[in-house]
């Protein structure tokens, strides 16, 4: 550290934190842009408005859940049960709207509450039971599925009201041509980004994932924060459930949400969040989600077998995390 790197206080005032966008995120943006260019050239319709609109809409539920997953992973946790939570929230909404006559907005509130309650179950067991999150959420995943199936009661929920379209990909769900669901996601990402970066509580999540004991010594309420992370996850899943219902058919069946947990985890780790905790950003997670969705869309639009998209997801995970590992190693070597 030579003397000329001594920054004057004035400069420090401007650059208050490490750069707002990480290397991982720049790489992801580059890859996504590249993919978009390739797809635009290779398929006639990729850049058509509706193609982009539906891509952005699809991004919304995964992106919203990836926010929560990022927070959880930053605290060195994980949540395998989100697919099951999504199912419970969705069927709750569906039943309330069709049988209870609730309006769509009221049902969304119910879904959020349901999500938060299930998240709280996870949070309680993990922070107070002191059992690894992966084990607890494996278990609750089964329990929540049971609850969801019970509510479904072996029937589908039919005739979901058309009012759900406001969060769907269709014309009802757009403002100035942009899907509302996507806008909600953008707002949430921005809020989460600001909170995690600029609020004490947000920074405490990172401190917990970094060194739980030291965080506790520094006066961070580790249990409460851990609990909170899972409750927030549940809330976000509740919202994702509303968007999923909005874009689905007028019939809801019990397969809703299947496989989403691994997709969300994939998006989150592609975005540069470490499963070991202490590191991660919601911006990266959303970019990861966008990458995954772009690949899925691209594969279908190119007319390739749709099952190939998972191969690309796998390869992207290895490359993204590998790039991160290499950067980490370089930095350590520099010391």
């Amino acid at each position: 550290m030579s003397a000329d790197t001594l920054a004057r206080p004035a400069q420090v005032r401007h650059r208050v934190l490490p750069s707002a966008i990480t290397g991982q995120e720049y790489i992801l943006m580059g890859v996504i842009v590249l993919l978009w260019v390739v797809l635009a050239l290779a398929t006639p319709g990729f850049l058509e408005p509706y193609s982009i609109q539906s891509l952005l809409w699809r991004l919304a539920p995964i992106g919203i859940m990836a926010i929560g997953m990022t927070v959880i992973m930053v605290t060195a946790g994980i949540d395998i049960s989100i697919a099951a939570i999504l199912m419970v929230c969705a069927v709750t909404m569906g039943k309330l709207m069709t049988e209870g006559g609730w309006s769509f907005p009221a049902a969304i509130v119910a879904s959020l509450v349901m999500g938060a309650v299930l998240g709280a179950v996870n949070g309680l067991l993990i922070s107070y039971g002191r059992v690894p999150a992966i084990i607890i959420t494996f278990g609750t995943s089964n329990l929540f599925q049971f609850v969801g199936l019970k509510i479904f009661n072996s029937q589908t929920v039919n005739n979901l009201p058309a009012s759900r379209g406001v969060l769907g990909p269709g014309p009802d769900g757009r403002i100035l041509g942009v899907p509302i669901a996507f806008l909600i996601m953008v707002v949430l990402v921005a809020l989460a980004w600001i909170y995690l970066r600029h609020f004490a509580g947000g920074r405490h999540f990172y401190a917990i994932g970094d060194d739980q004991q030291a965080a506790s010594l520094a006066g961070v309420n580790v249990r409460w924060r851990t609990f909170l992370a899972y409750v927030v996850m549940g809330l976000l899943v509740g919202l994702a459930a509303a968007i999923t219902i909005a874009g689905g058919t007028s019939t809801l069946d019990q397969s809703v949400g299947k496989g989403q947990e691994l997709m969300v985890i994939a998006a989150t780790v592609i975005g540069g969040t470490s499963v070991m905790g202490g590191r991660g950003s919601v911006l990266g997670a959303v970019l990861g989600a966008l990458l995954v969705q772009t690949v899925a869309t691209g594969v279908t639009q190119l007319g390739w077998p749709s099952q190939l998209s998972n191969l690309f997801v796998g390869v992207f995970i290895i490359i993204a995390v590998g790039a991160d590992l290499i950067r980490e190693r370089r930095r350590k070597a520099r010391l």
Binding site: G45, L149, S154, T156, G247, S250, V256
Partner: protein, 329 residues
């Protein structure tokens, strides 16, 4: 919810001991194992089976399905049915070949074995209860779509499970029909969305975006039929892109009404359930199927093809916005 029926023939329960016809036991159980529980299609079959319970003396109808469309989970259920010593097991296999061995075991245990909805042709099943002939379904979907499209343009089939025997046989007929009857319609390679509505919607959306000239989509199963219609509705291309599918009435009704679905084909699923139960009962009683069978007041003239041991419910039921509302599933 305990099982107080299905006791073996040696210990007849209650007062219903007097045997009515031939050597049939006074009380007997027909077990049906669907591909998956909780979807309207199979739940409607269950409802039909329950109706048969009331009509056919001595019949006990048992319905048990896995929570995921997984052959292994189906095999477990069949195994427990064998153990419960039911008198007949009828399966709608997720994967025809996967269930052949366990069906053999059932037969070895002296249980009558059949398939319904989806066949397992290489198995020891004694009857396949078929909803309609594959011809009937495949030609209807192809013809209806072609008519809506004006007999030209590009079309695609959005199917479900890659290995589903019935869907694949219908697809074969559809491809055949387009090739011979509608040479001006170009058919894109079939895509598979699993038993997942949302995925069917997304794939249909992507295919529409990638192929601006796409004007026809077939939703091959009861989950993809509303899925593809929803995609057309969301894209705001009702009237430009036409869909037909194999869908259940309640699920299809909104789409038939707004025109995003040009037609849906099905059969009376409850009747199929009833017929399945009846077929099980016939097998247990040892009464052979006739060339045409009178099953109930409403299910008449059911054809039995001896060569293939197929029991065919009848011609498919074409759902329109007028009649779809009459069904409660």
């Amino acid at each position: 919810t305990r099982n107080d029926g299905g006791t073996p023939t040696t210990e007849p329960t209650g007062g219903a001991t007097t045997s009515s016809g031939g050597e049939a036991p006074a009380e007997f159980t027909v077990a049906f194992v669907p591909k998956i529980q909780g979807i309207p299609y199979f739940e409607a079959m269950n409802a039909g089976g329950k109706k048969a319970e009331e009509v056919i003396p001595g019949l006990k109808w048992e319905y048990q399905g896995p929570t995921t469309a997984d052959p292994a989970a189906q095999a477990d259920i069949v195994r427990s049915m064998i153990q419960k010593k039911v008198d007949a097991i009828i399966v709608a296999p997720n994967d025809p070949d996967s269930l052949a061995p366990i069906l053999q075991e059932a037969k070895d245990a002296g249980i009558k074995v059949g398939t319904s909805d989806t066949d397992a042709p290489n198995s020891v099943r004694e009857v396949f209860v078929e909803q309609a002939t594959g011809d009937g379904i495949g030609t209807y979907t192809a013809d209806t779509l072609a008519k809506a499209m004006g007999e030209k343009g590009t079309a695609v089939i959005v199917s479900c499970g890659e290995t589903a025997e019935n869907l694949n046989s219908w697809i074969k007929i559809e491809e055949e029909t387009f090739k011979t009857k509608y040479p001006e319609i170009k058919l894109l390679p079939t895509v598979y969305a699993g038993e997942d509505q949302n995925k069917a919607t997304q794939m249909a959306t992507d295919l529409m975006n990638a192929n601006p000239d796409l004007s026809g989509i077939i939703g091959q199963c009861t989950t993809s039929a509303p899925g593809v219609a929803q995609a057309v509705r969301d894209a705001g291309r009702i009237g430009q892109v036409f869909t037909v599918g194999v869908g259940t009435p309640q699920a299809m009704l909104p789409y038939l009404e707004d025109g995003s679905s040009s037609g849906s084909i099905l059969w009376n699923v409850e009747d199929l359930g009833f017929l399945t139960a009846w077929a099980g009962a016939q097998m247990i009683k040892g009464e052979p199927f006739q060339a045409t069978n009178q099953v109930s007041d409403t299910i008449k003239d059911v054809e039995f093809r001896d060569a293939t041991k197929e029991l065919i419910l009848g011609p498919p039921l074409v759902l329109t916005k007028e009649n779809a509302g009459q069904f409660d599933y």
